[in-house]
C-alpha cells in the first residue's frame, strides 16, 4: 500500500467510527483514569509557563503544540464524562464530547505534536504529569485501532516477529558470528567471541534491532568492553529486543506481551542482571513500566549498560586512555533514560574518563531538550516534517558547544540526531557511549 493510500484510509477510519467504537474508546478512557489522574485533569490554571518547556512550541510557535492546549484536549473529554456541568452545559466548562472531530484533534496534537518527553511535566507549576495524560489519550485511541499506521507497524512487527525490525532468528545468529571475526581482529585474540544462550551467567545483554540490522559497530564496541572486563555475559538467540514501542503507541496490552519476553529470557538463561542496551525508551519501559504491565515485580536486577561500564571503571576492570579521543565531545541526554529514567550522572562519569575534551550542552540532565525523535515520532512519517522542525532546538544546542562528536546513549536519538546533522549542517559525528569507550580502552592492561 502506498503512503498516500495509507494516510487516506486512516483518516477515513476516524470519520467512519461506529457508535460501538466510540463507546469502547470512552470505556478505555474512563477505566484507565485513576484518582490521581482525575485530580490532575482538573488542576491546570493556564499559567502558560509550560509553553517554553516544549520543543514543538519553541520551534514552531503553533498553539496546537502548547502543552496546556494538549492537556486541555484530554481534560475537555474528562469533564464531559465526569462532571455534571460538563455533561449538561459543556460550552460553559470547556467540556467536549469524544467525537470524530475531537479524535482528529487528539491525533494531530497528541500523536503529532508530542514526543512524550516529559519536560512540560517536570516544569509544570502544579506538577501535572502532562505526558502521562497524553499517553492515556493514546491508549484510548489504541483501544479502537487508531494508532497511526506507521507506528502501529513497528509495534505489530515486534509482537508478531519477536523484534521490532522483524529480523529472522538465523540472520541474527549469522550476524553475531560475523562479528566474532571483527572482535577477534579488534582485540588480537582468536579466542574472543560473542556468547549466545550461555546460561547461569551474570549479565543478559539486550540490544536495539537496528544494531544487528544496519549498525553493528555498536554491538562490537559493547562486546569489546565486556571482553576487556572479563565479563560473564550472553546474548539470547530468540528474544533480545530492548525496545518496546507500545510505550509510545499507548497500547498496554502489546507493551505487556513485549516486556514479558525479556523477563522470560532472563528465566531461561538464569542470569542475574537484565542489562538494557543504549536505548532511552527501552530503559524506561523495561526498568520502570514493565512491572506495571506485567502486574508484578521482576525478581531480578535491571541495569543500564551505562551503570555496568561505570562500575568497570570504578573497580579498575577496564582501563581507558582519554588521549585516544581528542576531538571535543558533547552529550545528549535521552529523555526516557535521563529525565524519565533517572540515569543521569553515570554517562558523565564515563565520558570524563574516556575523552580529553568533554563539554556539556545547555540545558542538560533532567532539563535537556528532546531531540524530537522520541514518543514514536521517528516512525510516524506523516509527522516527519514537524519532527525535523522541532529538532532545531537540539541542533542549536549542539552547535553552541563547538563539539565534533555528539554522544547519545539511545539509538532512537542517534537516528534523529543523524537527520538533524544533515538538515542543519552540524558537521558532527554521532556515537554511542560504548563506541567512545571502546575507542579509548586499553586491551590487556
Amino acid at each position: 500500500m502506498s503512503e498516500d493510500t495509507r494516510k487516506d484510509s486512516y483518516e477515513e477510519r476516524i470519520s467512519g467510527l461506529t457508535s460501538a467504537e466510540f463507546a469502547k474508546a470512552l470505556q478505555t478512557f474512563c477505566d484507565k483514569i485513576d484518582i490521581g489522574d482525575a485530580a490532575q485533569l482538573n488542576s491546570c490554571v493556564h499559567c502558560g509557563l509550560c509553553a517554553d518547556t516544549c520543543h514543538y512550541y519553541l520551534a514552531g510557535g503553533e498553539s496546537e503544540a502548547l502543552p496546556a492546549y494538549k492537556l486541555n484536549l484530554v481534560s475537555a473529554v474528562f469533564k464531559n464524562q465526569h462532571t455534571r456541568l460538563g455533561r449538561i452545559a459543556p460550552a460553559l466548562t470547556g467540556a467536549q464530547a469524544l467525537d470524530a472531530d475531537m479524535i482528529s484533534r487528539w491525533v494531530d496534537s497528541l500523536y503529532g505534536r508530542c514526543s512524550l518527553c516529559g519536560r512540560c511535566a517536570l516544569n509544570c507549576t502544579l506538577g501535572i504529569n502532562i505526558s502521562r495524560l497524553i499517553r492515556l489519550a493514546r491508549t484510548t485511541l489504541a483501544s479502537v485501532g487508531l494508532v497511526p499506521p506507521e507506528l502501529q507497524s513497528t509495534v505489530s512487527t515486534a509482537v508478531d516477529k519477536g523484534n521490532n525490525m522483524g529480523i529472522p532468528r538465523q540472520e541474527w545468529l549469522d550476524t553475531l558470528q560475523w562479528l566474532d571475526e571483527e572482535l577477534q581482529q579488534e582485540v588480537s585474540d582468536p579466542a574472543a567471541h560473542l556468547p549466545i544462550d550461555q546460561s547461569d551467567i551474570r549479565l543478559f545483554y539486550t540490544v536495539n534491532p537496528r544494531e544487528p540490522k544496519f549498525f553493528p559497530l555498536s554491538l562490537l564496541a559493547t562486546a569489546k568492553i565486556f571482553y576487556a572486563a572479563g565479563e560473564s555475559w550472553t546474548f539470547s538467540s530468540d528474544y533480545y529486543d530492548v525496545t518496546n514501542y507500545g510505550l509510545f503507541s499507548g497500547d498496554d496490552q502489546a507493551s505487556g506481551v513485549i516486556s514479558a519476553r525479556l523477563r522470560d529470557s532472563m528465566h531461561k538463561l538464569h542470569a542475574n542482571t537484565l542489562v538494557l542496551g543504549e536505548c532511552g525508551h527501552g530503559y524506561n519501559a523495561n526498568r520502570w513500566e514493565a512491572p506495571e504491565w506485567l502486574a508484578g515485580a521482576y525478581g531480578f536486577e535491571v541495569k543500564s549498560i551505562l551503570e555496568i561500564i561505570a562500575d568497570y571503571i570504578r573497580q579498575g576492570r577496564i582501563k581507558l586512555d582519554p588521549s585516544r579521543n581528542q576531538k571535543r565531545v558533547t552529550l545528549h541526554d535521552p529523555c526516557n533514560l535521563v529525565r524519565l529514567g533517572g540515569i543521569i550522572e553515570q554517562q558523565r562519569f564515563i565520558l570524563k574518563r574516556a575523552v580529553s575534551d568533554f563539554v556539556e550542552m545547555y540545558p542538560n540532565r533532567e532539563q535537556n531538550f528532546c531531540c524530537g525523535g522520541g514518543g514514536g515520532q521517528l516512525s510516524m512519517t506523516r509527522f516527519a516534517k514537524r519532527r525535523i522542525e522541532s529538532g532545531r532546538i537540539k541542533a542549536d544546542q549542539i552547535r553552541a558547544t563547538g563539539a565534533k562528536i555528539v554522544v547519545a546513549p539511545c539509538h532512537n536519538c542517534i537516528d534523529q540526531l543523524s537527520e538533524l546533522n544533515k538538515e542543519y549542517k552540524l558537521g558532527v559525528e554521532i556515537k554511542t557511549v560504548s563506541e567512545i569507550v571502546a575507542d579509548a580502552i586499553i586491551i590487556g592492561h
Partner: protein, 106 residues
C-alpha cells in the same frame, strides 16, 4: 508531498523522501534520489553493487537485507558502507533502492 521527475513522469515521495510506490523504481530513479536525497552526484560501481543487491533482496523477500548480507555479497567492508551512503544503510542505501522505510528506530 514532494515529487521527482523521471522519464517525463512525476513520482511521489513521502515526507521522508522515500518513494511512495516501491514498484515505480528503476535505476534512473536511484540516480535522481542519489542527487536529491543523498547529495551524491555520481553513483560508483560500489554504490550500484549495494543498491542492486538491496533491490534484488527486496523483490524476493519484501524486506531490507541485513548489513551483513550487503557486505558478504558485495565484498565491501562494513565501514565502507557508511562512507558510501552518508545517511546509512536504511535512510541512504535502501531509500535509493526504492524500498519503503523499514520498521523500528529508523
Amino acid at each position: 508531498m514532494t515529487y521527482i521527475e523521471v522519464g517525463g513522469k512525476q513520482l511521489e515521495l513521502n515526507d521522508e523522501g522515500f518513494l511512495n510506490d516501491p514498484e515505480q523504481w528503476n535505476q534512473e530513479v536511484a540516480a535522481i534520489l542519489a542527487k536529491t536525497e543523498e547529495g551524491l552526484e555520481n553513483l560508483s560501481e560500489e554504490h550500484w553493487a549495494v543498491i542492486n543487491f538491496i533491490r534484488e533482496h527486496y523483490e524476493q523477500t519484501k524486506l531490507a537485507p541485513m548489513v551483513r548480507s550487503i557486505c558478504k555479497t558485495t565484498g565491501l567492508p562494513l565501514r565502507r558502507i557508511y562512507e558510501l551512503f552518508p545517511s546509512g544503510p536504511a535512510k541512504g542505501a535502501c531509500k535509493l533502492a526504492g524500498l519503503p522505510k523499514p520498521d523500528g528506530c529508523v
